[in-house]
Amino acid sequence: MSTDTDKLIESLGQDLKPVKPMAGAGPLAAVLSVLSLAAVFGAIQLFTKGLRPDWQVILGDHAGQSFGILASGVLAGYAAFRLCVPDTRIRPPVRVALIVSSFIWVLLLAGQMSASAPDVAERNCLTDFSLLFVIPFAAAIFMATRGAPVWRGWAGYAFAMSAGSFSALGMRFLCPNEEPSHLLVWHYLPVLGFTIFGCLLGQILLQKTSTPRSKK
């Protein structure tokens, strides 16, 4: 062992403070999900025209679809927090969570594919979607600063998919347009776009992570 390495070990030992171990991916994903839902519905009330008049249909006729979107958000959050812990590879539970959450979106997108061209006048949905996306994504990245992701692109992808799913769920409660073409272009495809964006952004934003929190 070189003298420099020996000195470094000595100094790291001297600087050592007790740290609070990072919470598990499950509890963190649960916290993120609750925060995201609160942020999305808070933003709907504060910054938009409010819930659609017939919002109960989302919990009734469209309950399956809504549950799928919610499950995708929670699973992607779980995968993202698992990816915040260093590991030599992406483990099977994380792969499964990523595949299932992505597959839900593939099904949702495919389900609207046969539709006719969308009404271009509904452009404000993209603005609303972006508004609903910002806080959950920022909260996720903030929570990720406690971690030390070594697969940053994948972590960014998963965080963006989680935030995108919660935003898309919020959009279902906000916008009354049920046209498949409208849902495809203005509610679901943005999730895909924001996920790619999150993948790229994750590489940058998650570089400066791993901040140990002192126990005292």
Binding site: M1, T5, I9, G13, L16, V19, V85, R89, V150
Partner: protein
């Protein structure tokens, strides 16, 4: 856990998880011991990936600093080696990106990624990976033995010379030829 509860040299890293948990609780002695014990395997991990000796210390120190910064992310249900080599591989790639090709005899970034693509957790696994194993198989027995002892097991040239009954110069020449032949083979087969 107090450091006094963890006595004796750990067998092949069996005590590393306990030492890390003690370190998370602020036990500096356990932490120093852990860092000292993981340094040789980290050096071997880098040597197995054909890093030049003069860069190994730098990268090991980067890895130790990263382990220090990320120590709170270790959880006992996760194998410590996976966690440690996850950090090590990440810092190694970062170092390569920062410094580019370190010298003419080293494997480039892309070649490195190919070599580490086997997801090996230890240097031995890395060298015994499917493709590298083929490269090793084409070496004469003596060259292979010297290469493994010097690059993977971490013996010094003098120690290898003593063990194999060779002169130190002969060991150096054999190790150099083996490394050169390995790289030529890997390049010939598309690495």
């Amino acid at each position: 856990m107090a450091s006094g509860e963890i006595k004796g040299k750990s067998e092949a890293g069996a005590e590393w998880p306990a030492l890390m948990l003690a370190a998370q609780n602020g036990d500096a002695n356990a932490y120093r011991r852990l860092l000292r014990e993981i340094t040789p395997p980290l050096r071997a991990f880098l040597r197995a990936r054909f890093f030049a000796r003069e860069h190994i210390d730098d990268i090991v120190q980067e890895i130790l600093l990263a382990i220090h910064a990320a120590r709170h992310t270790y959880r006992p249900e996760q194998p410590f080696r996976n966690w440690m080599y996850g950090v090590a591989r990440h810092k190694m790639i970062d170092y390569m990106r920062k410094h580019g090709r370190v010298n003419a005899n080293e494997i480039s970034d892309d070649e490195l990624v190919t070599l580490i693509g086997d997801h090996a957790n230890t240097p031995e696994e890395a060298l015994l990976g499917k493709d590298v194993k083929k490269a090793l198989a084409q070496l004469p027995d003596k060259q292979r033995e010297v290469l493994l002892m010097t690059r993977v097991e971490g013996f010094s040239m003098a120690e290898v010379a003593k063990k194999l009954g060779m002169t130190e110069t002969a060991v150096k020449v054999t190790a150099h030829r083996a490394t050169k032949r390995m790289k030529e083979w890997l390049l010939e087969y598309g690495y």
